[in-house]
């Protein structure tokens, strides 16, 4: 045995030898179970998706010229290069606005006029506004970023409660006595304070692999490290460094959300704990097992009050702010208007429950007020969405 193969100290060698004995579980059943339901779920999901896709194609290609918006009224906003859907019981925007130079949109001409005479008006109405008309978005409005095709939802200006109250933290600690955590571990989320934000658009879903690939192709950047399940177009992009996320934002004409923007989009204005309410429900953020993420926006029951998806699961998301654990207590005494985080720092804020975090009690990171941080160079599992 060479020096490399052991320590000089016999006790150490004995210690290592003793560590070789383990009582390992047989994981075959669990693995089979984790592979099986996925397959079963996939078939109906694919069938449904195929049926929906067929209906959409039928409606778009055979019945209606573009743009088509079902069950609602839309307006074309040339400045934002977007269609804004209005007064829709369930906003579904199926048209993307081409660049202003595109003759389909026209210049001051009601490009949607022909649609008003479409045979089945009960399906949609498309109203057109002159480009001079200023459009004031309202809650429920959505638009599309023509650069990457991402749907954005409008979060109106106003106040909301940011951070966790002492009551929230005590309740959480009581739920998980076995973890022996103390309130100190949650100090960075306190004190809860009122923040006022201007209105903003935020991506309904996390940036996808497909969108990020387009960015890489156009800018000559390389894709991040591929996750174990490989790149799938409609999954969230992952393993992105903060700088790359910021570069994407610039390319897409938007920015990373501030922590405040992210949190308001996730929990609304009523101080709820999770995007859907105050009761934890793991099924609303997708799989709760390590390594199983899902296509963005595929779990509508997990939507936030503004319609944002996957804010308690899938990828953890970069924010624009530097992270500082006592930031809330520093400025809680003043007036909080559009806070942008500390001026300097070494770590950036991450929000949202990432798929990698579910070995904790899942609702630790699923809480909309939960803050986490990491070195901006670290990319493990990090994705993002944008705001504007």
């Amino acid at each position: 045995m060479s020096f490399d193969d052991c320590f000089e100290e016999e006790q150490i060698n004995k210690g290592f030898a003793a560590l070789r004995g383990v009582d390992a579980p047989d994981p075959r059943q669990a693995i089979a179970a984790r592979l099986q339901p996925k397959r079963n779920r996939l078939i109906p999901a694919l069938s449904l998706a195929a049926a929906v896709a067929a209906c959409v194609v039928f409606a778009l290609v055979l019945r209606f010229p573009q743009p088509v918006i079902k069950h609602g009224i839309a307006s074309v906003d040339h400045k934002r290069n977007a269609v804004i859907a209005r007064r829709m019981p369930k906003p579904v925007l199926v048209a993307m606005v081409p660049p202003p130079s595109d003759p389909q949109v026209g210049d001051g001409q009601p490009s949607g006029a022909g649609l008003a005479d479409a045979p089945s008006r009960r399906f949609f109405t498309l109203s057109y506004r002159d480009k001079e008309t200023s459009v004031k978005p309202r809650k429920g409005d959505i638009c599309i970023n023509s650069k990457d095709g991402a749907v954005m939802v409008w979060v109106p200006a106003g106040r909301f409660l940011m951070g966790s109250s002492d009551k929230d933290i005590s309740a959480f600690l009581k739920e998980h006595p076995e973890k022996k955590w103390t309130a100190e571990a949650f100090a960075d989320e306190t004190p809860q304070h009122e923040v006022r934000l201007s209105g903003y658009w935020i991506y309904k879903c996390e940036v996808t692999v497909k969108q990020y690939r387009q960015f890489c192709e156009e800018t000559g950047r390389t894709m991040p490290v591929e996750p174990a399940w490989g790149w799938q177009d409609d999954y969230p992009i992952m393993n992105v460094r903060w700088d790359d996320a910021a570069a994407y934002a610039e390319w897409a004409g938007a920015s990373l959300p501030t922590e405040a923007q992210w949190e308001k989009a996730a929990r609304g204005t009523d101080g709820r704990l999770y995007p859907w309410g105050n009761e934890w429900d793991a099924s609303r953020c997708g799989e709760t097992r390590l390594g199983e993420i899902h296509p963005v926006g595929s779990i509508p029951t997990g939507a936030s009050p503004y319609g944002c998806m996957d804010m308690a699961g899938n990828a953890a998301e970069w924010c624009s702010d530097y992270y500082q654990d006592n930031y809330y207590s520093q400025i809680a005494t003043g007036s909080w208007i559009d806070p942008k985080g500390p001026a300097t720092g070494t770590e950036r804020a991450l929000r949202g429950g990432g798929w990698y975090l579910f070995y904790y009690p899942a609702n630790l990171y699923g809480r909309s007020a939960c803050r986490s941080k990491t070195d901006p160079e670290a990319d493990e599992g990090a994705g993002f969405r944008l705001a504007r």
């Binding site: 320590f7 004995k14 210690g15 003793a18 560590l19 579980p25 973890k179 399940w229 390590l290």
Partner: protein, 187 residues
Amino acid sequence: MVTELLEATDESVLVRRARDGDMRAFDRLVLAHSERVFRLALRMLNNREEAEDIQQETFLCAYRSLGKFRGESSFATWLYSIASHQCLSRIRWKLRRPGTDPVESLIEMPSEDGDPEEQLLASESARQVQLCLEALAPADRLLLVLKFVEQLSHEEIAEVLHCSEQSSRSRLFRAKRLFKEQYERMG
């Protein structure tokens, strides 16, 4: 030698069959390697629940990535490579939210028959070694676990870590020195 050759052939056949969707073949691979994956995870994380999770996740990753396994390294080192990455990732994630690490489990010892006094001594040595391992940086801990718990050769460690054999040697030398310093400090 002949047995080893047969085993190697068997394994490559199993891998090929598993890649073609034969779940029974994959089950056999899981059975053959589950203990080493679990042991690596347990010694890296010192938490049984997490180690079980990493064990399952490693095999799920392996199943999904079988198409990428070209047999350039052994199946075992390929699995070690996946498991190592899973462990390091998890440790890094823990650091993102200090103060909320899962509670450490007691150091797991095998239940063996034998002289109780010997067993107690071995148990104490193991406990101390595990504590020292935990005080090291995750990358150093991984090297020591691969070498002294899993008893891999430098060549195998180099395959697992995707580095040269020389680099594996020099990194291990450094990790051993740090471990000894820690061991003496904890005395």
